[in-house]
């Protein structure tokens, strides 16, 4: 019972379904299951590690300098971006050409930045809460990715009117799922 309630809470806090963050990235990667899965995993890495950085910044930054929080978050994400690309390059140079695109797409997108701001607004007290919130956001993105993958073929099939085939139908589909989530909360 606890798991089901937690699942509902996870849905309620889902970045895509309730805050519409990361939609463009989700649609770009929706072309193939492999792209979708790897993009979702990469975003999860960014949200988790980024939340770690956000915790450090929020701890050190005084309230007067609130406006430069965006700049500092971008620098943190930029650092993770460079480190991740470096690690991928030295771990497998042959596949670097394929894997780097997931990092490029995932780095500076609304899902990652939105997670950092959302986590900060929740005023979490300790590092563990920040990282957990970041990981939850990543898992929520993966969940939304699975929800979209299940219907992807049908949303792009020839039965769908040409004007709505693809992205417009995906928007309406996610909208109806989001509506159901709101009805539950």
């Amino acid at each position: 019972m606890f798991l089901i309630s937690e699942f509902v809470v996870l849905l309620g806090a889902n970045l895509i379904l309730t805050q519409a963050l990361g939609l463009s990235t989700l649609f770009i990667a929706a072309g193939s299951r492999k792209n979708l899965l790897w993009t979702a995993l990469t975003i999860s890495v960014f949200t988790t590690l980024g939340s770690f950085g956000a915790c450090l910044i929020n701890g050190l930054l005084p309230d007067k300098l609130y406006d430069i929080r965006l700049l500092l978050y971008i620098l943190v994400i930029g650092a993770i971006y460079v480190i991740l690309l470096t690690v991928l390059y030295f771990s497998d140079r042959k596949k670097f050409g394929t894997t780097r695109k997931y990092v490029h797409v995932s780095a500076f997108n609304c899902a990652v930045m939105g997670t950092l701001f959302t986590v900060s607004e929740k005023s979490a007290d300790n590092m563990g809460a920040y990282v957990l919130a970041g990981a939850e956001a990543g898992i929520g993105f993966i969940l939304a990715a699975f929800i979209l993958t299940a219907a992807y073929r049908r949303l792009c099939s020839k039965e769908v009117p040409a004007s709505f085939r693809g992205f417009p139908a995906m928007l309406v589909y996610l909208g109806i799922i989001s509506m159901a989530v709101y009805a539950l909360l």
């Binding site: 309730t18 805050q19 519409a20 963050l21 990361g22 939609l23 463009s24 649609f27 770009i28 990667a29 072309g31 792209n35 993009t39 406006d67 430069i68 965006l70 700049l71 971008i74 620098l75 994400i77 930029g78 971006y81 460079v82 690309l85 780097r100 695109k101 997931y102 490029h104 797409v105 780095a107 500076f108 997108n109 609304c110 930045m113 939105g114 701001f117 959302t118 607004e121 792009c156 009117p161 040409a162 004007s163 709505f164 085939r165 693809g166 992205f167 417009p168 139908a169 995906m170 928007l171 309406v172 996610l174 909208g175 109806i176 989001s178 509506m179 989530v181 709101y182």
Partner: protein
């Protein structure tokens, strides 16, 4: 004529929202009243124009990754004075919009499209094309928010309109999803040069990076 068309296509045929599916989140979540949309339009227009213009002076020889970071840093620096001005012109709206005011600073046009599209043009063409793309977003944002405010709350620009029926769901994010999806479908059926078979929309794909 073809050159003029390709520069102006950011407004209609290559609309950033309806065709490119970029910068969707602010429209869906915050675009439920005209006042919110005006604040977001101001933020988006100012930050995007200034960031892309300043970013056009970055040397092209740098790698994609470094240029992306520099563009994002420029946008975050431009954000600070824009936000200060917004607090003067739109008091109270910034709190309602919340994180989306900041997220506009890392939109796809600044982070990705500036490198893949705008900075490959001459300065003059880039300026016109950028303005068209920004106007394209602004118009969509305004129209969607006007419709949502009217149907969901029965007001227009904060003033009560004589309406009997309210569909409060349209003011919620899921209402934004559905309405935007319908608007995109309508746009595709009206604008003939938008390819309906182009499932990726906007031409972007993971393999483009």
């Amino acid at each position: 004529m073809n050159n003029r068309c390709s520069i102006l296509d950011g407004f209609i045929t290559g609309n950033a929202v309806l065709s490119g599916f970029m910068v969707i989140s602010p429209i869906i979540v915050c675009g439920n009243t005209i006042m919110n949309s005006l604040a977001l339009i101001y933020a988006f227009s100012a930050i995007t124009f200034l960031s892309v213009t300043i970013g056009s002076f970055i040397p092209k020889k740098l790698s994609f990754g470094f240029k992306t970071i520099i563009h994002a840093v420029i946008a975050s620096l431009v954000y600070i004075p824009v936000k200060m001005a917004a607090e003067e012109f739109f008091p109270g709206v910034i709190e309602r919009i919340g994180i989306y005011f900041m997220l506009v600073a890392v939109n796809s046009i600044i982070v990705v499209q500036s490198q893949t599209k705008f900075h490959n043009m001459t300065k003059g063409k880039m300026t016109v094309s950028l303005i068209c793309h920004i106007l394209g977003f602004d118009v969509v944002m305004l129209v969607i928010s006007a419709v949502r405010e009217l149907l969901a709350y029965g007001t227009f620009c904060g003033r009560i309109v004589d309406a009997d029926m309210f569909i409060s769901g349209l003011g919620m994010p899921f209402g934004g999803f559905i309405l935007l999806g319908l608007a995109c479908g309508l746009y595709r059926s009206i604008v003939p040069s938008v390819k309906n078979d182009d499932i990726a929309g906007g031409g972007s794909n993971v393999s483009d990076f």
